[in-house]
């Protein structure tokens, strides 16, 4: 993978409660922004294949999407388009597939686009209608999966993390404080307000030990990236961003098959493979956009990717080591906590942020670039058994 693929442009729309926009409108706006994001311009006819990230359409009554859905939305009937669905890392995997299309040598330019309508259903129904990653809700097994949802899986981890690693609900709240603070200055974020530890702990309990403000919001959004062969990238921009590693990691979807509840093997495997592909180490990374669907999840991610040993993330957080001006900024964009989590758009939105940060175009949320390497991560799907990690760099 390393040295073969470049990102030449990205585009997204401000995430939010976009009741006035359909899936089509959002996807089209992200696509247009992405085309405009190519410095020297691109003719849409130069795009030779596309991958369409779409998770929930059929599950929440908006029709199951296929590649033809995106073809129609962006007026690209002459190219092959494949729909990708792989749980919460759908955006990561859509990007990965578009990378593979280029790296294989088959296509010179490819498009990865993800779009998701989440708010047309109320929050609880939306998560439950889609199974919440657990097969939760009704009609499933009478004993195994009763009464759960997306938050309950991470709440089971959060309880065990506190018991085994010594972190507290205050530490979880500190993740929300940091990410909401970062999100205030991101024009693409859904929530742009500060929170305090007290406000998080006083917010309603969604699934003990997780409070409302420990959870990312339900949000609509779309995001896209254009990829091309590294050796022709300069035709489109003088500042391409190169793909070092792109990987998806698996773990059991059933919670009763898990080896423990303090780490996620899906993330560990995704990160290990991506670092191997890129020939780089966690210590080489300047900043990371990590999947903070829940606050405890972010602490696990920091450890599972290898940024610090297990049980250390909450201590480093207390010391301010993940602040935007610190040694390893985490979620300088505000993450899912501030942006929300429009599933298939989430990973590609993070890719947009990594692209802008590496090109030092992130305005007041700009982090210090030393090695010129940024990392993007998602984790989720049934039992949080799917994770995606993409590592991008200023140099091939």
């Amino acid at each position: 993978m390393r040295g073969k693929v470049a990102v030449i442009g990205v585009g997204m729309i401000p995430f939010g409660e976009l009741f006035e926009k359909g899936l089509e409108t959002m996807a089209q706006e992200a696509y247009i922004n992405c085309l405009k994001g190519v410095d020297k311009g691109i003719d849409p006819k130069e795009i030779k294949a596309a991958w369409f990230g779409q998770w929930s359409g059929g599950l929440i009554g908006q029709g199951t999407q296929g590649g033809s859905g995106l073809a129609s939305m962006i007026g690209q009937m002459e190219i092959p388009i494949t729909r990708v669905e792989n749980g919460c890392p759908t955006g990561s995997d859509t990007f990965r597939n578009a990378c593979l299309g280029v790296a294989s040598g088959v296509y010179e330019v490819t498009l990865a686009l993800g779009a998701e309508k989440m708010r047309d259903k109320p929050g609880v129904e939306s998560l439950v209608a889609a199974g919440g990653g657990t097969g939760a809700g009704m009609g499933m097994h009478p004993s195994w999966m009763l009464g759960g949802g997306g938050p309950s899986i991470q709440a089971l981890y959060a309880t065990r993390q506190m018991y085994e690693l010594g972190c507290t609900m205050e530490d979880y709240a500190r993740v929300a404080v940091l990410n909401h603070h970062n999100g205030v200055s991101c024009p693409y974020a859904h929530y742009r307000f500060e929170v305090t530890v007290e406000r998080v702990l006083n917010s309603p309990v969604v699934c003990w030990p997780l409070h409302l403000l420990d959870c990312c919001p339900q949000t609509d959004g779309a995001a896209a990236a254009l990829l091309c062969r590294a050796d022709v990238a300069k035709k489109y921009t003088d500042k391409p961003v190169y793909v070092l590693g792109s990987n998806i990691g698996m773990d059991h979807g059933n919670l009763w098959d898990k080896h423990n509840f303090i780490e996620m093997l899906s993330t560990i495997r995704a990160a290990r493979g991506a670092f191997e592909m890129g020939g780089v180490k966690p210590g080489d990374v300047d900043f990371a956009e990590l999947h903070d669907c829940f606050t405890n999840t972010e602490l696990m991610n920091i450890e599972d990717i290898g940024f610090c040993p297990k049980g250390e993330a909450h201590k480093l957080l207390r010391e301010g080591q993940f602040d935007r001006n610190a040694r390893l900024p985490i979620n300088p964009s505000g993450g899912l906590k501030a942006h929300g989590h429009p599933i298939a758009a989430t990973g590609l939105g993070q890719i947009c942020e990594v692209f802008w940060q590496l090109r030092e175009e992130a305005d007041e949320r700009q982090v210090k670039i030393k090695n010129g390497i940024g990392l993007q991560h998602n984790v989720g799907g049934p039992g949080f058994g799917v994770s995606g990690v993409n590592i991008l760099s200023r140099t091939p």
Partner: protein
């Protein structure tokens, strides 16, 4: 238009996993899982045997869900249990509403309970009950 009546849940009784708790154990790596498999999900071995899960175990982790699926009354306490003799089980705890009542490492056992009602038909399944140490 009214929804069609559900199929009788009674057929579940003939499924070995649901009430008789039959799973599989890998003879190579020892991993215990359910529903029954022909291939071990952990190591890929085809060398599996049927394994009857214990109804007793200890709490590996738990949470108290206040945003439950429609049709259930919150709170629903959810636990993952380390079963005696190996394997884990995911389920709900009955007769508990507060997080403080549950302890990691605490002993629990399965009891048969009505778990919900689907258009007039009762659906039964196992729930976990905290085991009083003094009674043991």
């Amino acid at each position: 238009m009214s929804a069609p009546a559900p199929a009788s849940p009674l057929f579940w009784r003939f499924n070995p996993e649901v009430y008789r708790l039959i799973g599989t154990k890998c003879k190579d790596c020892g991993h215990i899982t359910y529903p029954r498999r022909k291939i071990c999900p952990l190591c890929g071995s085809l060398n599996l045997e049927e394994h009857k899960l214990s109804r007793r175990g200890t709490v590996q982790t738990y949470c108290i869900n206040w945003t439950v699926p429609p049709g259930l009354e919150p709170p629903v306490p959810i636990i993952v249990v380390d079963l005696e003799g190996g394997g884990k089980y995911q389920g709900v705890i009955t007769e508990v509403t507060q997080a403080e009542e549950v302890k990691i490492g605490g002993k629990v056992e399965m009891v048969l309970r009505k778990v919900w009602t689907d258009r007039g038909i009762n659906i039964y399944g196992y729930k976990f009950r905290l085991v009083e140490e003094a009674l043991r």
